[in-house]
Point group: C2
Chain length 202, copies 2
């Protein structure tokens, strides 16, 4: 039986960017399925009373420096040389993640995710500005204006809210979070454990 | 050239217990050296404004449950079936870690560490009570009273303070922390990275 890795995803998270391609490669290599679930990281934080590491670590000496070190190590280990930190961080991704819900509904999720990750973390932009969002999508050959229209649909809004609430109900408190069946994994350092689980017979 | 893994160590940390034996096995297997540096975790927390995860995660929904899950997974993956949570946690380890400084000076560190880990996390006791500490050491065939006397020596007190301050200067903010040369690693999940580094030619 094919196993599925659910990826609780929001392109707002630099760690989601970093883990996306190595995870895709791993899932492909293991003959599993990747199921990206668009969520709003801000909504997960609000529901769980969590904060971005950059905020919660700010007052702790040495901790942010170590997080940056592991960031750089991960980039090097996986050859993610295109990564650039987004100077507008944190970018509000309500529009971008509503767009991801629409892209999933219309079968365009993979190119949409690639496009968002590129314009958030490779050629970083302030993607919470509508004009910039539309231009980014157009540049990727997607229809920017159609995505803005879709983002106002109740069904799209409701699904993003529902995805986010469901992720928290399953145990998520941040992004990237992964589920293989009932087994949850948090963070970009969990690829080895996910690989081991995908190798187990069903 | 033989590589050395410095282990910023305090037996107060359950994660230090969990990682100790797998790390020792790894270091041995790779022909490297393990250098345990007794520190006071409470001193590291004070110097860096950090807190135990159980405190900092307490207000965050789902996060402590996930930490417990990774705890259980690590125990299972490494066959650490003797582990029992210490109901007196957090135990003040000033006496125990001063003792570790003395044990290192007298060449008795390995049996001393084994003894402390056993009485803290396998047959858990309130090791910050002097009588319990002495009895624990005696049971291990170490001289409990001699350790209490040593713990009052200025040289022992000063070395524990110095070890702790030096660890923070090198970048530590918690336990377990490891250094291989200038490369720092934090947490029990870093064994794979340490292994890869030990495999690199010097």
């Amino acid at each position: 039986m094919t196993k599925t890795v659910d990826f609780i995803f929001d392109c707002a998270s630099p760690n989601a960017y970093l883990v996306y391609r190595p995870l895709r490669e791993l899932v492909l290599r293991k003959g599993a399925e990747l199921n990206i679930i668009p969520c709003l990281l801000g909504g997960i934080f609000k529901a769980t009373n969590n904060q971005p590491p950059m905020v919660s670590n700010a007052g702790i000496e040495n901790k942010s420096a170590y997080e940056r070190l592991e960031f750089v190590r991960f980039i090097k280990a996986h050859g993610l040389s295109k990564f650039q930190f987004n100077e507008h961080f944190p970018v509000n991704t309500l529009l971008a993640m509503r767009g991801a819900v629409h892209a999933k509904q219309t079968g365009e999720l993979e190119p949409y995710i690639e496009c968002m990750l590129h314009h958030m973390w490779e050629q970083p932009k302030k993607l919470d500005e509508k004009d910039i969002y539309v231009a980014a999508l157009d540049e990727c050959g997607l229809n920017g204006n159609a995505y803005v229209v879709a983002s106002q649909r109740d069904m799209v809004k409701a699904e993003l809210i529902n995805n986010t609430a469901t992720a928290v109900k399953r145990g998520a408190f941040g992004v990237p979070t992964f589920f293989v069946g009932d087994e949850m994994f948090f963070g970009k350092e969990r690829l080895g454990q996910i690989e081991a689980l995908l190798e187990q017979p069903s």
